[in-house]
């Protein structure tokens, strides 16, 4: 029973149930008279539904209902909305096509749900699904950005000519033109940011229950933000007011962004439950997840950097095509615009920037936020470009970065793309990473690798990200259709234990521990006496959930604000009990004290007095000790740092082995160092996954070539070295904890470092470009092609 505050590393409270297999996930929830649903999904990327006959299926044993697009129309259900309005250069709104919960007439990607079969068992539902007759008239499809933006492409939506959803820009084109006009050097790069499938360990699931007696809906779902899901159901899709709708996100096994969004299945299990009079559960299997979860990344870009004769950056010009998929998912439009274009200054003093982004519809499943969401795409483009510039100008890539990093004394720093960085020290993180990887002796290691027939390369990435989403007014001005504050409620129980209710959601992050530390440290009570409650709209005042590394910066700040109120009210109670003036009461280490005396009341005594107010200032103070707070951030937070990667390439096979990774991050004040290290490790693994292993490969016709773990390569422990992670702290200046956020650092910082390392290793062979993922065959072919050129 110990106090464990900010800076301590207690073991994670939640791990006991997870490690014992006692977690309670959505699929574990079995309600009385539980019915089951399966979805019939389109096998084609683009087709008209010529015939849909469910009569045989409806007659099969155990079948309760088969719902189709006609039922969606008849029920007056709203389409799945997009949460962010992006405007094109000309001021026009983005094209927002309809997004019905079940396809109406036309399917637009492989996996598009066509019908829902509800039965008394999953097996019966599956069997009946096989008996639903669906005939398709296959249409030409735009499977990739290349096909979608070719001349006279197949149109995903007739209302989006050229498959363009928006044509957005940011920055100052004239300034950039002027910068290029006076540049001593220009460096150009074309690159793709590969598409990845999120693959949380727990596939999505939803269990909906309509209680006719109380006319009330309950939804259990794999969500990162149950309140947002409730809001969208209430206002847009189900049209049921919030007090008739409870959304619970119980234990959730990873999200990585893919569980932010409101999905059709969440709506349909509720609709189906009302229809059949039983709770209805759907659980995705892995192959279904590959074609129905929103994917990540998928950009094609051209970038140009202008430099002066000394290697100082003068200007950056970027043109990006961003794949949105067939339908606009919840944050699909924000990710490649306001979470990408605004980050193109990186950690650099970059005096002129202009970026143009076209959002492109394709006949693929939606693309939306995936760990990092827009920021990895910016970091990858910029860090590849800077390293290419270093090679082209024959400047050491580390020195080129030193020349251009924002000096530590130049904060706050206003970028040319809207953001104002409050604090940072990129030189310190660069030095720390170099020290961690033992840069001094790199040449020796390279020589030793060469002796073993291996090509060693060192890759660097200096990155920044914007986290802590987001100042609501700013986000609103930029097109967000929701606020992005956070809420907390702290309930002190009569005997001094505490329940804290947070609107953020923990699906691997360890909030039940880190948030408990905030309470334990501040109130001076044992961490065991604190319970953190999340994921239930009936228990928690409100919240916008967990994504964009916002939970500590925004949710934690809301908890601090509520704690302030608790401590202040406690002072008034203590002043009464101690017969002193409120102004003379201090609170520290769990004790209210009359300043300068040994007269004290423990926090628990004050809590008890609040609930048993026999000796209490009832005329001026309400009994009880429970406070709520909403916190709206003043700015984004800006974690950043340096990632260094050493690889060895086997020139005979093209195999790239990651032999060392050192990260030095500035994530602000650290609440739990162990959990921060864990987040860094996970992010690095995921970033290395994208750089070397993972890719969701669509063909031109929109078929997903790898839709299982047999062919889609997830990173495994054996693919990764022991990571050397470190932190240099500069405290965020505008939130009460000084925290910035750690959830996405690895996924943002490391992919360009990996590719830069591979290119560094292959440079002596004449290889100048390689795309993610750097698979063995791709590397081998690059080597062959370079050898062919040199021969």
């Amino acid at each position: 029973m110990t106090v464990q505050g900010v800076g301590a590393s207690p073991k994670r409270k939640e791990d006991r149930r997870f490690l014992l297999g006692k977690g309670r996930y959505t699929d574990d929830i079995v309600l009385q008279d539980q019915a089951h649903a399966v979805f019939i999904r389109a096998p084609y990327a683009h087709a008209a539904i010529a015939k849909l006959d469910a009569s045989a299926a409806r007659a099969m044993p155990g079948v309760l209902a088969v719902l189709t697009g006609d039922d969606v129309t008849a029920a007056g259900l709203g389409g799945i909305p997009c949460g962010w309005l992006v405007k094109s250069k000309d001021g026009s709104n983005m094209v927002e096509p309809p997004h019905p919960a079940l396809a109406i007439g036309v399917v637009r990607h492989v996996g598009d749900p066509v019908a829902m079969v509800i039965a008394t068992s999953r097996a019966a539902a599956k069997a009946a699904a096989g008996a639903v007759e669906v005939d398709y008239d296959v249409k030409p499809a735009a499977g990739r950005i290349a096909e979608a933006t070719a001349a006279n492409p197949p149109l995903v939506w007739d209302q989006a000519p050229g498959n363009i959803c928006f044509d957005w820009h940011i920055g100052d084109a004239a300034n950039v033109d002027a910068a290029f006009a006076k540049a001593a050097h220009t460096v150009e790069l074309e690159l793709t940011n590969s598409r990845v499938a999120p693959n949380a360990m727990e596939p999505r699931a939803a269990n909906g229950f309509y209680d006719a007696a109380s006319d009330h809906y309950t939804l259990y779902t794999t969500s990162q933000n149950p309140h947002l899901t409730r809001l969208l159901l209430a206002a847009f899709t189900l049209h049921v007011p919030e007090h008739k709708l409870r959304v619970v996100a119980p234990d959730v096994g990873g999200g990585f962004g893919s569980k932010i969004f409101h999905y059709a299945e969440e709506l349909m299990v509720l609709v189906a439950s009302k229809r059949v009079g039983k709770p209805v559960k759907w659980t995705s299997d892995r192959m279904e997840a590959f074609v129905s979860d929103a994917h990540g990344r998928d950009h094609v870009s051209k970038a140009q950097l202008a430099l002066d004769a000394n290697g100082k950056f003068l200007g950056l010009r970027v043109q990006t095509l961003a794949n949105l998929g067939a339908y606009l998912s919840t944050f699909a439009s924000a990710v490649p615009t306001y979470l990408y274009g605004t980050l193109l200054s990186g950690p650099y003093d970059l005096p002129a920037i202009y970026a143009e982004v076209k959002g492109v519809f394709t006949n693929t499943v939606a693309v939306d936020a995936y760990r990092g969401a827009g920021r990895p795409e910016a970091s990858y483009l910029l860090e590849r470009l800077v390293s290419k510039a270093a090679r082209q100008l024959r400047i050491d890539p580390i020195e080129l970065r030193r020349k251009n990093l924002i000096p530590a004394d130049k904060f706050p720093y206003q970028t040319q793309v809207a953001l104002a960085y409050d604090t940072g020290n990129f030189q310190a993180t660069l030095d720390m990473a170099l020290e961690r990887i033992d840069y001094k002796h790199y040449a020796d290691r390279k020589a030793a690798s060469a002796k073993r027939g291996k090509l060693r390369g060192l890759g660097i990435s200096t990155y920044i990200e914007a986290c802590g989403l987001a100042p609501s007014a700013l986000a609103g001005a930029l097109g967000a259709r929701a606020g992005l504050y956070e809420a907390a409620n702290i309930r002190i129980h009569p005997t001094g234990s505490v329940s804290v209710f947070t609107g953020t959601h923990s699906h691997g992050q360890g909030h039940e521990t880190t948030f408990a530390q905030l309470i334990s440290g501040r109130l001076g009570i044992p961490i065991e006496n604190v319970e953190v409650v999340h994921g239930d709209t009936d228990r928690i005042p409100f919240g916008m959930g967990t994504y964009g590394s916002r939970s500590a910066a925004v949710g934690g700040s809301a908890i601090v604000k509520a704690l302030d109120k608790i401590v202040d009210k406690g002072k008034k109670i203590a002043a009464h009990l101690l017969e002193a003036s409120v102004a003379d009461i201090e609170f520290a280490d769990g004790l209210y004290r009359v300043a300068g005396t040994d007269r004290v009341k423990a926090f628990g005594e004050v809590a008890f007095a609040a609930y048993v107010p026999h000796n209490y200032p009832l005329e001026t103070l309400e009994p009880g000790l429970e406070e709520s707070a909403f916190y709206d951030p003043k700015n984004f937070t800006f974690p950043g740092g340096t990632h260094l990667v050493e690889v060895e390439v086997d020139p005979e096979t093209g195999v790239v082995e990651i032999v060392d990774v050192a990260s030095a991050d500035d994530v602000g004040v650290i609440i739990n160092p162990m959990i921060v290290d864990g987040q860094a490790h996970g992010g690095l693994a995921q970033g290395i996954g994208q750089a070397l292993l993972e890719e969701a490969v669509y063909d031109g016709d929109g078929q997903l070539a790898n839709d299982s773990f047999l062919t889609y390569t997830m990173p495994r422990a054996a693919d990764l070295p022991m990571f050397k992670v470190g932190n240099h702290v500069t405290a965020c200046t505008h939130n009460p904890l000084g925290v910035k956020g750690v959830g996405e650092t690895g996924a943002i910082g490391v992919p360009p470092a990996v590719i830069n390392a591979v290119l560094d290793a292959l440079a002596p062979l004449g290889v100048t470009d390689i795309s993610m993922p750097a698979t063995p065959e791709k590397v081998w072919r690059a080597i062959q092609a370079a050898a062919g050129k040199q021969a």
């Binding site: 773990f709 062919t711 889609y712 698979t775």
Partner: protein, 264 residues
């Protein structure tokens, strides 16, 4: 997964009788390939006959210049067998690197051999070592066993009982694994037994195959240099999203070279 009847015979004879009696039955010998197929409903057998309780299939014994491994031995059992490690270390090492720990704990030698997945590891060992496959009714030389894509010389109701591996003077198996599945994209087994030097390749084509040109070259001079320039043409090989036929062709040369080096 569709419903099926499940049987656990205690003897080989019972198993054979069941297999004969049930027209659409499948043998379950570890299930590492069969169960995924059932889950995806790519096969819908009426009956599953588990070989787990058939004791005749279980042991590993040294028999003169051969090691006889029961068909029911899991990959893990083969990898950990002191006899195999001591007398045929290349085979122990092959077994140790099949799939992952879960696959090795359940998957069996007999199941793998009878299934004849073109990307499985064992076929390369059987061909290169000149192994003999024992069944409930006969013995089949490895050269005559692997016929085509997922096709063997086994009759429909025939059950593999053991594999007889000749001991090798030197042998090594080098695999280039598929990054996701860990199946062999290309696996090359090089062995010198009393019968001579053999080179076998798995993963690269519809069925595992020997490379006579390499065998002849190595018979003259057992060194990596001896096979330089011997190329299996890409048009005889598999190509897929993970590795093109050209790349597989290249990898055969590299893996063969490394296997020869590992033999030394």
């Amino acid at each position: 997964m569709k419903d099926f009847a499940f049987h656990r015979p205690k003897t080989l004879a019972e198993a054979v009788a069941l297999l004969e009696a049930r027209g659409d039955a499948k043998l379950l010998a570890g299930g590492q390939s069969l169960l995924p197929v059932l889950k995806l409903e790519l096969a819908e057998p009426s009956d599953l006959i588990s070989l787990a309780d058939v004791e005749e299939l279980g042991d590993i014994r040294v028999d003169g210049d051969r090691i006889v491994i029961g068909a029911g031995c899991t990959h893990d059992t083969v990898a950990r067998s002191v006899d195999v490690q001591k007398r045929l270390p290349a085979l122990a090492s092959l077994a140790e690197h099949i799939g992952d720990a879960q696959v090795r704990n359940r998957g069996t030698l007999g199941g793998s051999v009878a299934h004849a997945d073109p990307a499985a590891d064992y076929p390369a060992a059987l061909l290169a070592l000149g192994a003999t496959i024992a069944t409930d009714r006969r013995r089949i030389a490895a050269d005559d066993f692997f016929k085509a894509f997922f096709e063997t010389a086994l009759a429909r109701d025939e059950i593999v009982t053991a594999v007889h591996f000749p001991l090798a003077k030197r042998a090594a198996y080098i695999k280039f694994a598929h990054r996701a599945s860990k199946y062999a994209l290309v696996g090359v087994f090089v062995a010198e037994t009393a019968a001579g030097i053999r080179v076998a390749v798995t993963g690269a084509a519809a069925v595992a195959f020997r490379v006579p040109a390499m065998e002849a070259a190595l018979a003259k001079q057992f060194s990596p240099d001896a096979i330089a320039g011997i190329v299996i043409p890409a048009d005889e090989l598999n190509g897929d999203a993970e590795a093109s036929a050209e790349y597989r062709s290249h990898l055969i040369g590299v893996m063969a070279k490394r296997a020869i080096q590992a033999c030394a």
